[in-house]
Amino acid sequence: MTTVFTQERLGALNAMYARCIDNDQLEQWPDFFTEQCLYLITNADNHAAGMQAGMVYADTRAMLQDRVLAMRDANVYEDQRYRHIVGAPLVLEQDATLAVVETPFLVARIMRDGGTEVFATGRYLDRVVHEEDAALKFAERVVVCDSSNIDTLLVIPL
């Protein structure tokens, strides 16, 4: 069986996703998601306990656009950047239209004063679909942080 969800394509999807955030092209970030979607940032303890709340909870692409808009024009924070290191995507299940994928990540945060620290590690639990133009999109990206702690604040998406 040929599949559209090849390791190569999923790897490229994650590489583009990380590059979009780390290169501060966040206006394009919502385009990685389907119009109706789920983007949730939670932690391993909550996820294991089946608790639904997140630090960020978006169920439409428009809500992701609002995140970016607020980050650009409303919220106050010191200059900071991320560097994502994304591991190999592991396909757990797939059919012709959907793949369930788990991918580990590490995000370093670089602050205004030059301080660079590991900000978050965890795994992306994804449901990846391919749309008619054959582009892969996230119908769901649940960001499960290993630690329950956030240093100071979380403004740039993971």
Binding site: Q52, M55, Y57, M63, T152, L153, L154
Partner: protein
């Protein structure tokens, strides 16, 4: 010479009576931090420990803190709430090593000293020695040793603990109005929707002041203002308990068009025209408490916050973790009888709060801005004169009255 330097340093650390000036050394001093642990967190105050719902069954426990002191809170065999230091009487090791669990008793991993659910020392491994050798002296009395116990009390399903035997009852400590406002929100069985921890780079008092500062909300938090969730020109006010220790800041959204003139006249950064959400469903809510109050921020001295922002319900436990480090433990709540629609509203509105909250993320950073800003100060003072000098309940929020209330209570406990 060294004595003289010390004397000089000490001589600057004075604080005139009154509540409109706060010396910056109060946020930077190791001696102050130590005194706070004794006089406030271990003194005649009530520390929030957990929710009753989190330890519903006998044997259910959680580990938490009172100030920086580790504490176990557990429901015993009789269903009573017990709390005691999470510190073995033998060598001081932590007794319980998990965030939560179920136990019949607690055994320290180091030398297997065992405690019952009331915190009484019940077993000392090899107390009689082995083969007649070693062991504890015959006059060692287990009843005389054990972790310090806390009194416990509940209000609205919140569990509080106090190390002080003479602390006033929780009802007396809070006062009728604060109890009523807690019960307004926590009126029925709750369910935990998530727990998140946030570590912020500043003294704990800067965070508590920020919580009680109704003046900053619509100035620092643009998101709030822009969507008419909270403008100081809306109907609202602050309620301050008798000594100033506790407070409630509340407001009602008026859906009628509002005059922007107060904000535009000040040319404030938070006044942005034409800022609209691509998906406004995040703000969909219902008046679930039936009184039209869309925001109620309630604080209990020294380190507890219950916040209702529309349909988001969140508890914050504020824990000092060093002079310039504070831990916030967030617990997000719903009710067990939530409809799926209401639950979904809560999950979406929770974007407003927490470490990534549209209207609260700044609070994680602003205390650090102060902590770094006051580096190198000694005699300099913060100004708290907005709205005068009183700590009285008032029907506007352009005031620092509840922040002054914090300092009134603080100075009382600290005798400073």
């Amino acid at each position: 010479m060294e004595m003289k330097l010390n004397d000089m340093r000490d001589s600057k650390r004075t604080w005139e009576p009154g509540l409109t000036r706060v010396p910056y050394w109060i946020y930077r001093d190791a001696g102050v931090y130590r005194n706070e642990q004794q006089r406030i967190f271990q003194g005649p105050t009530w520390n929030y420990l957990c929710l009753e719902a989190e330890i519903a069954e006998p044997g259910d426990y959680r580990t938490t803190f009172a100030g920086d002191t580790p504490v176990i809170v557990v429901r015993d065999e009789e269903g009573e709430l017990q709390a005691f230091e999470n510190r073995c009487a033998h060598r001081g090791a932590l007794i319980a090593l998990k965030d939560s669990g179920k136990a019949e008793d607690f055994t320290c991993v180091y030398h297997a000293w065992r405690y019952d659910l009331q915190g009484n020392l019940k077993g000392v491994a090899f107390e009689q020695g082995v083969n007649g050798k070693g062991g504890m002296p015959p006059d060692f009395c287990k009843e005389q040793h054990g972790p310090r116990k806390l009194r416990t009390a509940t209000v609205g399903g919140l569990v509080f603990g106090s190390f002080d035997e003479d602390v006033p009852s929780i009802e007396e400590y809070l006062g009728d109005t604060i109890v009523e406002k807690i019960e307004r929100v926590l009126s029925k069985p709750v369910e935990v929707l998530g727990r998140f921890k946030q570590t912020i780079p500043n003294n704990w008092k800067l965070y508590m002041e920020n919580v009680k500062d109704s003046y900053h909300a619509s100035l620092l938090h643009v998101f709030f203002t822009t969507f008419n969730l909270n403008r100081l020109s809306q109907k609202g006010g602050v309620i301050i308990s008798e000594t100033g220790a506790h407070h409630v800041s509340w407001s009602k959204v008026d859906h009628k068009p509002q005059s922007n003139s107060a904000y535009s006249a000040e040319k404030l950064r938070s006044d942005k025209e034409g800022y609209t959400l691509a998906d406004p469903s995040m703000l969909d809510g219902v008046d679930e408490f039936g009184d039209g109050v869309t925001l109620q921020i309630l604080s209990v001295f020294p380190g507890f916050v219950l916040a209702q922002i529309q349909n988001t319900l969140a508890i914050r436990q504020i824990l000092p973790a060093g002079i310039d480090k504070t831990v916030l433990n967030w617990t997000y709540l719903g009710f067990t009888d939530d409809t799926p629609e209401l639950r979904r509203m809560r999950l979406k509105q929770l974007n407003l709060t927490g470490s990534a909250g549209f209207i609260s993320m700044e609070d994680g950073a602003v205390g650090g801005f102060v902590q770094r800003g006051i580096a190198g100060t000694d005699e300099e003072l913060a100004i708290l004169e907005m709205g005068g000098a009183s700590i009285e309940t008032q029907d506007n929020r352009t005031t620092e009255a509840s922040v002054r209330g914090f300092w009134n209570a603080y100075r009382g406990y600290m005798e400073i």
